[in-house]
Amino acid sequence: MIELSLLLFGISIVAGALGSLLGLGGGFVIVPVLTLVFHLDIRLAIGTSIVAVAATSSAGAARNVTESITNLRVATFLALATTVGALTGALLVGVFDARLLFTLFGTVLAVSAAQMLRKRPLRAMQESTPAMETVGVTAGREGGAGRLADRLALHSSYFDAAEGLHVPYVVANTGLGLGLMYLAGTLSGLLGIGSGVLKVPAMDLAMHIPMKVSTATSNLLIGLTAAASAVVYFARGDIDPLIAGPVAIGILLGATQGSRWLVRIRSDRLRVLFVSVLVVVAAQMILKGIG
């Protein structure tokens, strides 16, 4: 068991680091490794991955929430939709054809990946900040939901250590974002996976939140969504301490390191890394759907 534990532990460090850097649960690493390499029952693999999500979220957010990269107000507000979505998903399990859902999910991710690559870099965003007042008001008028973001005081700023810039940002399309988060929560509740892969593109593409803030905020969100369903998995006996234990320890170490990297990484590199992982996850989902 010791050798096995050490192997799980090592893989989990990697999953935790990537997960907290990218705002994902790390399930995209943990579940395939446990089922394909260790031939573990899918039920126990998903139970373990839920623990991995909680660990990634807490260890990652512990640092970034204090450093103000995480937007706590956005996370709290969007959590309304993701948790209700997760509950909806759990109640709807079995109603839809899972293979169809996997294919659909995979396709949405692939399209998001393509869209995200086209987004303008951080530098361009910084250059537009003198006009931020106009941008904010315009977003409020045109997006319809920007006014909601005004009322909720969601707009914010963060210090980007990699660029040495103070980056203010205006949150747009809050209503659309809320709807997308509900869908993301429902899908992850239905399929038991994909906690962050839809949340980050929703914040980045629809709500115009900077990439680093999107991944850090997603990181806080996924822990809340996971907690809602983790109790079900625990009570059902899907969380085996001898497997989830070493995974959790590895994730905690990796995620703590990942949150340090998030402070220093350049946003354009973070975006490319995220899109690469998105492509891998999209392929995993589509393969599950068709095969």
Partner: protein, 141 residues
Amino acid sequence: MATPAGGYGALTPPSPRGVRAAVGKTLRGGVSLAAALLLTGYVVGVVTEPGVFGSHAVEQAHLAARARFPHSLAAMWDGIGHGSGEAIIVAGILVLILTPVAGLTTSAVAFARRRDWLFTVVSAAVLSVILGSFALGWLSS
């Protein structure tokens, strides 16, 4: 809608420093407690149950066949009472699962202290959805 006081040029951090610091502190506390329990459980397990924790000849078969491990609070407390490493690990896992919820509770209280009633209500609503899911999950299993 009027521009917020101070204008967009003076965008404030997402939440007052005090709120963020409190949430960060709670999350760090949960993570440290969970890590301590997980490691203690491992050490206890390796020392007292080398058959389960130490042997590697049986690991594959063992993993496939393992079905009996604590997965209720009663079984966990019972196991901890008997000094079972496995049960201590389960406690660590539960602390980990509850840590984000503790963070949310902290932010609800911190928002209330600052009389930010809108976000106190939003935090409390999220909290009640999660607690509702807990109850549903527990009842349905």
